[in-house]
């Protein structure tokens, strides 16, 4: 019946700053430019999951307890996705982007923030069905080693398969999703062969640089966790990773209004957040965003 005791927000803010500093200085993970509203929610959740009465207690364990860092990183990384999430986006990739990419002898795709791999495998299936997979390579990156391991496994709860199959069909899939996985007990495992042209690698958008020349960058629902300056810097990183005319696919509710680097992209389909790197350099923006 009674409402929870109000936390002292100012104190909590200070504790959060110290936590973020500890994570950066001791373990090299920089969350200082994450958007605060989601970050505080996750850190509170982490504290409660580990039965810490305060964020400071969490910080103490982060500094003194071996392996606690792994748990923290897991708790702070973007965990949730679906195969063929927002099917209309995958349909647009299939119908409008892949035919353009088909003109390249070798197609490089970077999926930044691959989490547990649902979208990487969705891409692999799209490429397979378009007959392009043999000359494609997907770089799937995430800053969480734990997420990368999960992504490599390609094992998911069977209860998700129904929604994902529907998504696949709405995305214009030409077979059935069941062609690509085997079901065992309560799990589905995606076929190993889908992984043949995927490289999973650790990459942190906050600190790491360009590492490939990509024809398509896919990064959905990752930038929503970033502050405006970090969003802009990451957008510039994508621009510098893309060939001229290369494609960028963001999450369907993302806003680029506050990112000057958006000027270096033109919309292929603004509603789907599908863009291309424009061919001409725009010096006015190139400087301030790099």
């Amino acid at each position: 019946m009674t409402a929870a005791t109000p936390i002292d927000l100012e104190l909590e803010q200070l504790e959060l700053e110290l936590f973020v500093q500890a994570l950066r200085r001791r373990h090299g993970h920089d969350f200082s430019e994450y958007a605060p509203a989601s970050l505080i929610r996750r850190v509170r959740q982490l504290a409660s999951d580990h039965r810490c009465a305060s964020i400071s207690e969490l910080t103490a364990r982060l500094l003194h307890e071996a392996d606690f860092e792994m748990k923290v990183v897991r708790g702070l990384s973007v965990p949730v996705s679906e195969m063929f999430r927002d099917p209309v986006v995958f349909r647009a990739l299939r119908d409008r982007v892949l035919p353009m990419l088909a003109s390249y002898p070798q197609i490089n795709i970077w999926q930044a923030g691959c989490a547990h791999g649902q979208e990487v495998y969705s891409l692999a299936i799209l490429l397979e069905e378009a007959g392009l997979y043999e000359r494609s390579h997907i770089f799937a990156t995430d800053f969480s080693p734990d997420a990368l391991e999960r992504a490599k496994d390609g094992i998911y709860p069977a209860r998700d398969a129904q929604l994902w199959s529907r998504n696949y069909l709405h995305a214009g899939g030409t077979r059935t999703l069941a062609n690509y996985y085997s079901a065992r007990y309560d799990f589905i495992k995606l076929h190993e062969r889908l992984r043949r042209n995927i490289t999973f690698a650790n990459h942190n958008l906050v600190v790491d640089k360009v590492f490939c020349e990509a024809h398509l960058v896919m990064c959905r629902n990752v930038l929503i966790y970033f502050s405006n300056p970090l969003q802009n810097r990451t957008l510039a990183l994508f621009r510098d990773s893309l060939v001229r005319g290369g494609y960028l696919c963001l999450g369907i509710r993302e806003t680029l209004d506050f990112a000057p680097a958006a000027a270096d992209f033109s919309a292929v389909d603004a509603k789907l957040r599908l863009y291309r790197r424009i061919s001409q350099a725009s010096p006015g923006h190139a400087d301030e965003t790099t």
Binding site: A4, P6, A37, R41, I224, R253, E254, T255
Partner: protein, 188 residues
């Protein structure tokens, strides 16, 4: 209580009809922003259009990074949690569902409580869930005001009942009485 700055409304099963009743009776001069989190499987675009045809205030989908606008109804997009930053801009998250819902009313209310503290009003309407109860408790714990639809007048009683059980309420009213109360509180 000072004049509130924001009204946050949560609803689920039966929410569309309940929202029509509330939004059509709000005073068109309200300077406060109204946030709506409605569990809906359908598209929020359609929901916004439907609500706008009844609402006295303009209705839009809340967009990430954009400012919270007074005198306007902002609806949480489907598939994302809606949060607020301290500078009163929207943020979205795809973190896990809460009470089987994303958007979750608890998440939105919790963020509203952090940012608007005692200047927020939380409203829980009809729904067959317990989402919103914890969040409403957070709004109250920061000095904000809690308004709950009487379970008897709700199409689905579970959600307002859970809110009463967990958070309690400053006002427990039938659906028709809610907008007039909000007008009184917000236009003083």
């Amino acid at each position: 209580m000072k004049r509130p700055e924001l009204i946050a409304i949560g609803c689920s099963l039966g929410g569309l009809n309940a929202l029509k009743v509330v939004l059509s009776a709000l005073d068109a001069r309200l300077p406060q922003a109204v946030l709506v989190c409605c569990h809906t499987a359908g598209s929020v675009e359609v929901l916004c259009r439907l609500l706008e045809s009844h609402s006295t205030l303009p209705v839009t989908e809340a967009a990430e990074r954009r400012p919270v606008a007074g005198g306007c109804v902002h609806v949480a997009p489907g598939g994302y949690h809606l949060l607020l930053e301290n500078d009163r801009h929207f943020a979205l998250s795809v973190d896990e569902s809460v009470c089987f819902s994303r958007p979750s009313i608890d998440v939105m209310f919790g963020s509203v409580a952090d940012v608007y503290q005692s200047n927020a009003i939380g409203v829980v309407l009809t729904g067959a869930s317990r989402d919103g109860a914890e969040g409403l408790a957070r709004i109250r714990s920061r000095g904000g005001l809690a308004v709950v639809q009487t379970p008897a007048s709700a199409e689905a009683a579970a959600m307002p009942q859970a809110a009463l059980d967990i958070a309690g309420a400053d006002h427990c009213l039938s659906l028709e009485e809610i907008a007039p109360l909000l007008n009184r509180l917000c236009l003083r």
